[in-house]
C-alpha cells in the first residue's frame, strides 16, 4: 500500500488575517512496507501533512492517492474574459463536499497522535482498545481477538483488561492507546512523535514495538525530530522545513550530506558523526552498518581486524 502525494498545498484560515500557509507544493511517495521518517522541527508542517493521510484535513489544493482512494482537489480553471483563471469557488465547493466511504480510508491508515493517552475514555482497558475495530464493523469475536493481540503486542497482559485506563501509569496509558490503533489492523501506521514524554527505557521499548509491527508487514510513517531514532530504525527520511520538503533520501545519505546539514538545523546523530570522523581518519568503516553505539563498536572491531 503506497501513498502518492502531488502538489499538495494547505493553508489554515484562508482569507482571514490569521491566514497561515502550512504546506507548500508537497510531492512525495510513501512506499509500500517502508519505514519512513518524517523529520522536521515544530511548526514545519509534520502534523498537518499527517492529518491529510486519512482525510482529517482536506488539501487546499493538490492530490493524494492512498492505495487508490483518491482525494483530488486539483486546480480547476475557468474562462474569464478569454483568459484561463483558477476557479477558487469550485475548488472550495469540492473541498467542502463529503468524502465517500471515509471509514474505509481510516481503517487502512491508522494515526497515533501526539500524547495519544488523551483519547482513552472507556471504563476498562479492553473495551477501550476494541472501540476502534468495533467502529469499523468487525464481528464481536474478531474485535476481541484483535484487541487481545494488540494488547499482547504492546506488552499489556490480561490482568490489566478489566482495570480502568485512567489509573494506569503514563507509559502504560500510552501503550494502551497505541494498542487501540493497532487493533484496527491498519495497513499503514502513522505515528506523530510517539516517544515524547517517555523515559529512555519506555522510548526504547516503544520503538522496538514499532519495528516489530513493521516486520509484520505494516508500512510505518514516523514523525520525529530525534535523529538517533531515524538512524537506527528508519529506511527512508523525508525532511520538512517551513512547509516544504527539503530533502528526501535514505538516512545514510542524509547524514553524509554535509553541505545540506550545514544549512539546515538538523544535527546528525553523535554516533554517526563519530563514525564519519573515524572514517576520515583512515579507519575502514562501513557506514551503512552503523546504527547505534553497539553496532559502531562492532564495526570498529571488524575494521581493526
Amino acid at each position: 500500500m503506497s501513498i502518492i502525494i502531488e502538489h499538495l498545498y494547505h493553508t489554515y484560515d484562508e482569507g482571514l488575517p490569521t491566514q497561515q500557509i502550512a504546506l507548500q507544493d508537497i510531492n512525495c511517495i510513501f512506499d509500500d512496507h517502508c519505514f519512513t521518517a518524517l523529520i522536521g522541527q515544530t511548526g514545519s508542517g509534520k502534523s498537518t501533512l499527517i492529518q491529510h493521510l486519512n482525510g482529517l484535513l482536506i488539501p487546499t489544493s493538490g492530490k493524494i492517492d492512498i492505495n487508490s482512494y483518491l482525494i483530488d482537489i486539483s486546480l480547476i480553471y475557468k474562462e474569464k474574459k478569454g483568459q484561463q483563471v483558477v476557479d477558487y469557488k469550485a475548488m472550495k465547493k469540492k473541498r467542502k463536499a463529503k468524502l465517500k466511504d471515509i471509514k474505509s480510508l481510516r481503517k487502512k491508515v491508522g494515526i497515533v497522535f501526539q500524547f495519544p493517552e488523551y483519547q482513552l475514555f472507556e471504563d476498562t482497558v479492553i473495551k477501550d482498545v476494541s472501540y476502534g475495530p468495533k467502529n469499523f464493523g468487525l464481528s464481536e469475536t474478531e474485535v476481541l481477538e484483535n484487541s487481545k493481540k494488540a494488547l499482547d503486542l504492546v506488552g499489556i497482559d490480561s490482568s490489566y483488561y478489566e482495570r480502568t485506563p485512567f489509573e494506569l501509569s503514563g507509559g502504560e496509558k500510552r501503550r494502551v492507546a497505541i494498542a487501540g490503533i493497532i487493533a484496527m489492523k491498519p495497513d499503514i501506521l502513522v505515528l506523530d512523535e510517539p516517544t515524547v514524554g517517555l523515559d529512555a527505557s519506555g522510548e526504547e521499548k516503544l520503538l522496538t514495538l514499532i519495528q516489530k509491527i513493521h516486520a509484520d508487514g505494516t508500512s510505518i510513517i514516523l514523525a520525529t525530530h530525534d535523529m538517533d531514532v531515524v538512524l537506527k530504525y528508519c529506511e527512508r527520511a523525508i525532511v520538512l522545513d517551513r512547509g516544504k520538503i527539503v530533502k528526501e533520501s535514505s538516512p545514510l545519505e542524509l547524514f553524509q550530506d554535509r553541505e545540506f546539514l550545514k544549512h539546515s538545523s538538523l544535527e546528525p546523530p553523535k554516533v554517526f558523526s563519530f563514525a564519519l570522523k573515524l572514517k576520515d581518519a583512515g579507519l575502514n568503516i562501513n557506514l551503512s552498518n552503523v546504527k547505534d553505539v553497539s553496532s559502531l563498536a562492532q564495526e570498529i572491531k571488524r575494521a581493526r581486524g
Binding site: 482571514l16 488575517p17 490569521t18 492529518q51 486519512n54 482529517l56 471509514k103 481510516r106 481503517k107 491508522g110 494515526i111 497522535f113 495519544p116 488523551y118 483519547q119 482513552l120 475514555f121 472501540y131 476502534g132 467502529n135 469499523f136 485512567f166 487501540g180 490503533i181 484496527m184
Partner: protein
C-alpha cells in the same frame, strides 16, 4: 466544529479600536432599545427597523459578517417552530382576524407576534456578535470589572469574579483546540460525529466529553499550582499590565450612545406616534 459566530476576529477597524467599556455600554443600550415597547406595533416596527439599519452599518464597518447570522438561524428552526406553536395556543394573541389550518384556529396576530420575536432575535444576535467579534476576551473582562466596580462598596469580591471570568474566557480557545484534537483522534478510530443512529451519536459524544473533562481537570489543577507558585493572592490589590487609553474616538462613541439612549427613552415614555403625527391612518396592528 468551528465557532463562526461571535469569535474574536483580529481586524483593525474603528470598532475594534474602541474602548471595551464604551462597547459594553453600547451593547447594553442597544439591547434595551431592541426590547422596549414604543406604543403601537407600527412604531415598534419603525424603531426596530432603524436599529437594524444601524446594526448592519456597524457590522459593515467592523467587518463582521451579517449574513453568517442567518446560517446560525437555520440551526435554530426548531426553536422557531416551538415559538410558533406556543404562540398559537397562547390566549394573549387570540384577538382580531383569524383563519383555519385544518381544525386549528390561527390568528393573524400570532403570525405578526412571532415575526416580531424573530426580528428582535436577529437584531440581538447581530448586536452581540459585533461586540464579541471586535473585543478581545481580556478587554471584555476588564470592561465587566469596571462596570461592576460600584459594587465594591457592598464588599462584593469583584476582583475574584473578574479573575474567574477572565480565566474561563482565556481557556475557551485552549478547550476548543483540545476538543478538536480529541475529535480528530477519535475520528481516526472510526467515530463519525455527523452521521449515524442516535445511540452511535451519544457514544460519539461521550468519547469526546470524557477525555475533555479529564484534561480540563488536569489543566485547572496545574494552573492553580502555577499561580500559587508565583505568589498569587486573591485578596491583594492588583495593578494592570495593559492600560486602556481613553481617546477622542471613545468620547464621540459615548456622545452618540447618550443621544441614542435619550431618544429611545423619550420615544418609549411619551409613546410618540409618527403615523398620527403625519396624519396617516393605518389598519390596527
Amino acid at each position: 466544529m468551528t465557532l463562526t459566530i461571535g469569535k474574536f476576529t483580529p481586524f483593525n477597524t474603528v470598532i475594534h479600536r474602541l474602548d471595551a467599556r464604551v462597547k459594553l455600554i453600547g451593547l447594553i443600550i442597544f439591547l434595551v432599545a431592541t426590547f422596549l415597547s414604543y406604543g403601537t406595533g407600527y412604531m415598534n416596527l419603525v424603531i426596530n427597523g432603524g436599529i437594524l439599519v444601524i446594526v448592519i452599518i456597524l457590522s459593515i464597518i467592523s467587518k463582521t459578517s451579517f449574513l453568517k447570522l442567518f446560517k446560525s438561524l437555520k440551526a435554530m428552526w426548531m426553536m422557531i417552530v416551538l415559538l410558533l406553536i406556543l404562540n398559537i395556543f397562547l390566549p394573549s394573541s387570540s384577538t382580531g382576524d383569524f383563519f383555519f389550518i385544518g381544525e386549528v384556529k390561527i390568528y393573524y396576530r400570532t403570525i405578526i407576534n412571532v415575526s416580531f420575536i424573530l426580528l428582535r432575535l436577529i437584531i440581538v444576535l447581530a448586536e452581540t456578535n459585533i461586540f464579541t467579534s471586535t473585543t478581545k476576551p481580556m478587554d471584555m473582562t476588564y470592561a465587566l470589572e469596571w462596570l461592576f466596580s460600584p459594587l465594591k462598596v457592598l464588599k462584593v469580591p469583584i476582583h475574584k469574579f473578574s479573575m474567574t471570568i477572565s480565566l474561563a474566557l482565556r481557556f475557551i480557545p485552549t478547550l476548543a483546540e483540545e476538543s478538536e484534537r480529541i475529535m480528530k483522534a477519535q475520528a481516526s478510530r472510526g467515530v463519525d460525529y455527523r452521521q449515524g443512529k442516535l445511540k452511535d451519536k451519544v457514544k460519539a459524544i461521550i468519547s469526546l466529553i470524557i477525555p475533555l473533562f479529564i484534561s480540563s481537570l488536569t489543566t485547572s489543577s496545574e494552573l492553580t499550582d502555577a499561580m500559587e507558585a508565583r505568589g498569587y493572592n486573591p485578596d491583594s490589590k492588583r495593578s494592570r499590565y495593559k492600560l486602556q487609553k481613553w481617546s477622542l474616538r471613545d468620547t464621540f462613541g459615548i456622545i452618540f450612545l447618550a443621544v441614542l439612549l435619550t431618544a429611545i427613552i423619550i420615544l418609549a415614555i411619551y409613546r410618540f406616534d409618527l403615523f398620527t403625527y403625519l396624519g396617516v391612518s393605518l389598519p390596527k396592528l
